[in-house]
Amino acid sequence: MVSKQVAPAEDETGKWETQLRKGGLGLAVLATLWPGRLYGLEMLRRLDADAGLSVPEGTIYPLLSRLKAEGLVDSEWVESDAGHPRKYYALTELGRRRVRDMAAGWRAFATGLERLLAPLDGDNR
């Protein structure tokens, strides 16, 4: 008889959470740009402070480069008071439409899931 090795529940939950965060990262990055243009480090700090999303710093620029290739964001180098140029990112019109659609999809999904999860509240079985 073959016994299947089962991964610890915490590991599996951790993996699921990582995938969940990964899936939502594109929307989160686009959402940070909704109020106005930002440079990379500002985005990372906002993701961390507002959403508790700790994004590996080396991954934000490749992600922004992909969003730019898709026409969702635009970028420009701007001389800063800090003494060095910064690359600022801003949503394009397409990006604004996309983030609105993604937000609507996310909210509909989250609302449905919340209804399903409601019976779990206060039930500690």
Binding site: G40, G58, P62, S65, A82, K87
Partner: protein, 199 residues
């Protein structure tokens, strides 16, 4: 500990990243490095002490990992915006130098397209050069095939005759489509699976 040492440390790190940016054009590489430099300067708030630079670099990740994720994401997004067979083949070529997987994908893609082209060219040329275009079994043994337009040995035996036209067209187009799908799938897979610098 001086600002110059911090600056030198940053320059060395960026040079190491640059060495691994195979597959990016010089403009793309310069843009990537300029953005990383700007990031480190922001994170150190212009202090550039060796300790501050070291911390900022550690947060970015190892040069090889940072370079790989940059190259793979750029190549994958190029494929998403232009999925023509040539663009996909070019993308696999750009990933070929990154890893053994990249090289294998490029090799398989190139071989697939060449074989597809062989079938298509043979099928198209057959009506114009029926004696020279076709699929032949070579006299050496029954397992040696020769496909294309060529002067073959008089002992070679043609196997499909005029059937090479419909079969060549179907097989050639099918093979080209499969190779294209394989390229798109592999580039996406490599982008998803690339080792990302840890937080």
């Amino acid at each position: 500990m001086s600002r110059e040492q911090g600056q030198a440390h940053l320059d060395t790190y960026l040079a190491q990243v640059h060495r691994h940016l195979h597959g990016l054009s010089e403009t793309e590489a310069r843009e990537t490095l300029a953005e990383l430099r700007s990031h480190v300067l922001d994170r150190t708030e212009g202090q550039l002490s060796p300790a501050a630079v070291e911390a900022a670099i550690a947060a970015l990740g190892a040069p090889r990992d940072v370079a790989r994720v940059n190259v793979t994401e750029r190549v994958a997004s190029a494929v998403e915006t232009n999925r023509s067979p040539l663009s996909v083949l070019r993308a696999t070529g750009r990933l070929a130098r990154l890893s053994l997987q990249g090289f294998t994908v490029f090799f398989v893609s190139l071989s697939g397209y060449l074989l597809a082209a062989g079938f298509l060219v043979t099928a198209i040329v057959k009506p114009f050069a029926p004696a020279r275009a076709g699929l032949w079994i070579l006299p050496a043994d029954d397992l040696s095939f020769s496909l294309g337009v060529m002067d073959h040995s008089p002992l070679a035996r043609e196997v499909l005759g005029w059937w090479i036209i419909p079969i060549g067209l179907v097989v050639g187009l099918g093979l080209a489509w499969l190779t294209w799908r394989f390229g798109v799938f592999s580039v996406r897979g490599m982008a998803r699976g690339v080792k990302r610098p840890a937080a």
